[in-house]
Amino acid sequence: MAAIEILGLTKTYQVGFWRKRPKCALKPLNLSVEEGEIFGFLGPNGAGKTTTLKLLMGLVYPSAGSARILGTEINDPRMKSQIGFLPEQPYFYDYLTAAELLEYYAQLSGVVAKDRKRQVNEVLARVGLPDVSGMQLRKFSKGMLQRVGIAQAILHNPRLLFFDEPMSGLDPIGRREVRDLMEELKHAGKTVFFSTHILSDAEALCDRVAIIHQGELRGVGAVADLTSSVEGKVEVVWHGNSVPANVKALSPTCSVTGDTVRAVVPEASQDALIDALRRERLRIVSVTPIRTSLEEYFVQKLKPSGAAAGVRA
């Protein structure tokens, strides 16, 4: 069963004070996330990631389309005991201590009274905050609040987790810990759907990713499949201290270092470049394929439709 099924989910806001005009925050979105996967929802700021998450959480209502979470319509409140949600830059009731806040959320999530204290302590230890459970949240740093946010999301042992920018505000060690936590959740059979614009996190963690830009889904699939769809590049290095004209025509950006020249060209131009170098009687040192990163795919997908036309689908 799909953990998340999104069918044509659309959101249009009316903006302006006197003369209202529609502003499309999310174009019809179709997406399916399987149970047990870590799914990355990628896009630049303002792409529609948070809008999608808010729609799924029932915080804003769709203009069209529908979605099902764990087989239940998103407007069914019973489904919400099965999910955990970390909003972007979370803010909590700062007059409460971390333990009081989590106990309150445990009450709202329907955790039985006898288990609450134990679960609160366990989850605080899991996010690395066991010693500050009695401290008021107004004294917490941004990174500590992010950890509390993660704690409240996993507190009631949900099957499906939604994290909106979970690494935001964390130092490198904190980011590493969150990545480890997400891996642990996956091994425990949970589904994790997280939005981010930090591509290295997505590349390291995700089974599949989707890329959204200007409210429109630009691509979805496993990281390896997506990156293999981008035209590959090769690095060619040869001996010499200048670039002949016919070589420059094939590779306009060559870098000369001492007595070697380096050029990066598309795979399609590789043979032509090698032939040109041979005609010039230049000695080739190496020809190395360059691994395509998610970042390159991401950048390609963010280009306007015309510019991206050269990319193989």
């Binding site: 806001y13 808010k54 959480m57 029932g58 915080l59 804003v60 209502y61 409140p77 019973r78 919400k80 005991s81 999910i83 955990g84 949600f85 909003p87 830059q89 979370p90 803010y91 909590f92 009731y93 007059y95 409460l96 309150y104 959320y105 009450q107 709202l108 999530s109 329907g110 946010g149 409240q152 939604f162």
Partner: protein
């Protein structure tokens, strides 16, 4: 009451206590102590009347200010600070959130009124040296004040569900002032003609009738309150508060939390 409403209510109460809302009790205690000592020295035979009038009016005004200034932020502050996101992403329905908030603030006001009432009775004991049978009617006046709090809390929540805190405060305070003169508005409507009569009558019945819930003067003069009036005013306040709450729920249910 569902357990979720109870938890939201108790958290709202805890927020008020931690935000030092009950510190107003100190100001009230100082006011009552000073007034009692002063009244004991300058008035002859009307000490009780002055203490009851002053004490109950102060309770009413302190409570109204708390109800309006906390009530207007109950929803809008949660949206603005985004604390609502982690509540509504749980199995909490929007109407439960509104009702829980209402009961939380109402509970705060009841506790606040309870402690202030102790202050009034201590002041009465100080100036009269003993309690009188008529002092029991002070409890009825206090009950009517609590009914006023329920109405103004529900109205503050209603405005908070769709407008900014500043506008909500203006609306709620305006209704409090107009409602305090509701009987005069009804008298004006009865004398007016044509469209003005319709408009004035509509407005007179739409605004909460705080005037009929104000029995401070009667109680201060030792007059009793009819049981029928207590029943009818209770029903009026409950229905009015319930309608305002329903309005708040209807608006909030449809609202996009951007």
């Amino acid at each position: 009451m569902s357990s979720r409403i109870r938890h939201i209510a108790s958290n709202t109460f805890r927020e008020a206590v931690r935000d030092r809302v009950l510190y107003n009790l100190i100001a009230f205690a100082v006011l009552m102590c000073g007034a009692s000592i002063l009244v004991g020295q300058i008035s002859i035979g009307i000490e009780r009347l002055v203490v009851i009038n002053l004490g109950l009016t102060a309770i009413s005004l302190f409570g109204m200010v708390i109800a309006i200034f906390i009530g207007i932020g109950l929803v809008s502050k949660e949206i603005e600070k985004r604390t609502l996101y982690t509540v509504l992403s749980r199995p909490v329905q929007r109407w439960e959130f509104i009702v829980g908030k209402f009961f939380g603030l109402a509970g705060t006001l009841v506790v606040n009124t309870f402690f202030m009432a102790i202050g009034v009775f201590l002041a009465l004991l100080y100036v009269s040296q003993r309690f009188q049978a008529a002092d029991g009617w002070v409890l009825v006046a206090l009950y009517f004040i609590v009914l006023q709090f329920l109405i103004i809390t529900s109205l503050a929540l209603f405005f908070s569900s769709f407008s900014s805190p500043l506008l909500s405060a203006v609306f709620a305070f305006s209704l409090f002032v107009i409602g305090s003169f509701a009987e005069d508005l009804r008298g004006f409507a009865a004398m007016a003609q044509g469209a003005t009569r319709w408009l004035a009558t509509g407005a007179a019945y739409l605004v909460p009738n705080f005037a009929s819930l104000n029995v401070i003067s009667s109680v201060a003069h030792g007059q009793g309150i009819a049981g029928m009036l207590i029943l009818s005013e209770t029903a009026y306040a409950m229905v009015y508060a319930a309608m305002a709450l329903c309005g708040a729920v209807l608006i909030f249910e449809r609202r996009n939390l951007k």
